[in-house]
């Protein structure tokens, strides 16, 4: 039994190790920007997107089903060694949330906001902060693709003034705000801040209330150091970036009616040793204090059953082509070379 056709809502422990297909119609709406690049290539090659049902994702989904949404938000943190499947578990959970009709705020990689920024504008709203127009407008565009149907339903509760001539009135739909952010690139970071604030206020509401899922990949990038520099070559601290400042407010648990699911990531992180994978090491003191209390969800390497399932899936999709890789000897060698690490196995099977 390799494949199951149930959507994430109906999956349970008996489906552990089986693959389920993400329907093609969901693909472009739910995941415009969340998936790891190698997985995207795999989807293009096999002409379908299959995700393995694994223990961490099932645990997260069961927590989300049973949580009480009138209390302050619970924060879940996925951690594990490099390549163990944290981002894929996050995407699995995000798919569940969007099939249940939640509003999903998916930040694909927080590290992209603290490094390699070509344009740093001083913020108009707050004197000592910096704006990142390109990253903000990209993210708003993807946010618009993911949550089309919510944009017309949510109304703003406050009047926002952008320049002397432009302002968005109270009661206008959220879609208008997002469109303005995408077109007016200069104020897009402030638009992001406004969007996050509105969603935070309205998430737990009883009339027309929706549930908000904040999914952040590489959350350890929000605390720590950046590689960006001001014009006088002094380093920029993460607090001085508008996007990071607003996102940190989102991750605080002072609002209710949703959940915050975060992943640690050493791969894109700055100034972190490559052997670090525990929350304490990657988040640092400041980050751990802000994230505390959270529900830690460890993501381990493949178990024997999961490895079998992955191996059979690759065989079924005609991906393992080397004649020796289909024998017992080859399989033992794959186990030895990859140590059951999902990403290492994927890279090995790519050229075998």
């Amino acid at each position: 039994m390799l494949y199951t056709c149930l959507l994430p809502a109906c999956q349970s422990e008996q489906h552990l190790g089986q693959y389920y297909t993400v329907p093609p119609s969901h693909f472009h709406t739910v995941f415009p920007h969340g998936l790891p690049p190698r997985y995207q290539q795999q989807v293009k090659t096999f002409n379908e997107g299959c995700v393995m049902v694994r223990q961490p994702a099932l645990e997260l989904i069961s927590h989300l089903k049973r949580a009480d949404y009138s209390k302050p938000t619970l924060r879940y943190l996925l951690y594990g060694v490099k390549g163990s499947g944290k981002t894929m578990s996050l995407c699995h959970t995000v798919h569940y949330c969007s099939t249940q009709g939640w509003l999903v705020l998916h930040i694909p990689d927080a590290h992209l906001w603290v490094k390699n920024c070509k344009e740093l504008l001083p913020s108009s709203y707050h004197a000592s902060r910096f704006d990142q127009p390109i990253q903000a407008s990209n993210w708003l565009r993807n946010f618009r693709t993911t949550n089309e149907h919510f944009l017309s339903k949510i109304k703003l509760r406050q009047r926002y003034v952008w320049t002397k001539r432009e302002s968005t009135e109270e009661g206008r739909p959220l879609g208008e705000l997002v469109d303005m952010g995408v077109s007016r690139v200069k104020s897009s970071s402030d638009v992001v801040g406004a969007v996050l604030k509105e969603l935070r206020l309205q998430a737990g509401g009883t009339e027309g209330g929706f549930r908000l899922a904040v999914a952040v990949d590489g959350v350890n990038g929000l605390w720590g150091r950046t590689t960006l520099k001001k014009e006088d070559k002094s380093p920029v601290a993460p607090e001085e970036l508008t996007l990071v400042h607003n996102l940190r407010k989102m991750i605080n648990n002072d609002w209710c009616g949703g959940a915050v699911i975060a992943t640690l990531s050493q791969t894109g992180s700055l100034y972190a040793p490559s052997s670090a994978y525990l929350p304490q090491e990657l988040l640092g003191e400041e980050g751990f204090d802000s994230m505390d209390p959270f529900v830690p969800v460890p993501v381990s390497l493949y178990s024997e059953k999961e490895f079998e399932s992955c191996y059979l899936y690759y065989l079924d999709r005609h991906w393992l082509q080397h004649p020796h890789s289909q024998t017992e000897e080859g399989k033992k060698e794959l186990i030895f070379l990859s140590n059951r690490n999902p990403s290492v196995l994927e890279r090995l099977c790519a050229f075998l």
Binding site: Q41, K44, T45, F46, N47, R317, H318, W319, Q321, H322, P323, H324, S325, T327, E329, G330, E333, A350, F351, L352
Partner: protein, 229 residues
């Protein structure tokens, strides 16, 4: 010279002798890294294998190179190709390029396979190793040319080639073609995968170069008797 001296060599003769690149005394035997050979029990050995085993217990054996493994995925032809592609001894980069090439070829073929209708699926070859070997076979020239001096002038004379020379020429042409005739921004593995797939279906510049060599040899048939070996 080394072949005739083998009978005179004893274990106490010096280990190192200068014989072209190999500095080993020809008394030493080649290493045999495959595991299956040693798993056959005593009773099932053929007489030659028994002899070989006895010889191995007496004679010294050369040290195995770093590139030879007992892995089932070890391929001598591919290792030779990697060595030929290597520059300045950087085998990591060369091996990386080859693995990316194999992956790229497999991706293209598997994508075509999944999109093809049922009838055409059996004709699409997805195994990158099979494609590589077949492409190399298609590029190997059958006959070569050499320059022979006769009466003050040099003539291009057609000669037969050994297997090693043919394999070397095919690989050399493939690598030079991919290094020279590509756009500045195309990466090596991309160009290599395109050339190998073209050679697999007998199109492309390398196969063209092989055909041109054959035509030259055919046109110089008259000088074939200048060859004296």
């Amino acid at each position: 010279m080394a072949a005739s001296l083998t009978g005179l060599l004893k274990p106490w003769t010096p280990r190192v002798l200068l014989v072209r690149w190999s500095r080993y005394n020809p008394y030493y035997l080649e290493p045999g890294p495959r595991k299956e050979v040693y798993h056959i029990p005593e009773t099932e050995l053929t007489p030659e294998q028994k002899e070989e085993r006895e010889l191995k217990s007496v004679r010294p054996i050369k040290a195995a190179t770093n590139s030879v493994t007992s892995s089932v995925f070890n391929d001598p032809v591919l290792s030779k190709f990697v060595n030929m592609m290597m520059k300045d001894g950087d085998k990591i980069i060369a091996k990386g390029i080859i693995t990316q090439t194999l992956e790229n070829m497999k991706r293209k073929q598997v994508e075509k396979y999944h999109k093809a209708p049922e009838g055409k699926k059996a004709e699409i070859e997805c195994n990158p190793y099979a494609i590589f070997h077949q492409a190399l076979e298609n590029c190997k020239p059958v006959i070569g040319l050499t320059s022979i001096q006769k009466g003050g002038k040099f003539y291009q004379v057609p000669i037969p080639l050994t297997d090693n020379r043919r394999r070397f020429l095919a690989m050399k042409w493939m690598i030079t073609e991919c290094r020279d005739n590509k756009h500045r921004r195309t990466l090596m593995y991309e160009k290599l995968s395109q050339e190998l797939l073209a050679a697999f279906s007998k199109e492309g510049n390398v196969v063209k170069r092989k055909h041109e060599l054959h035509k030259m040899a055919e046109s110089n048939r008259a000088y074939a008797h200048y060859r004296w070996w």
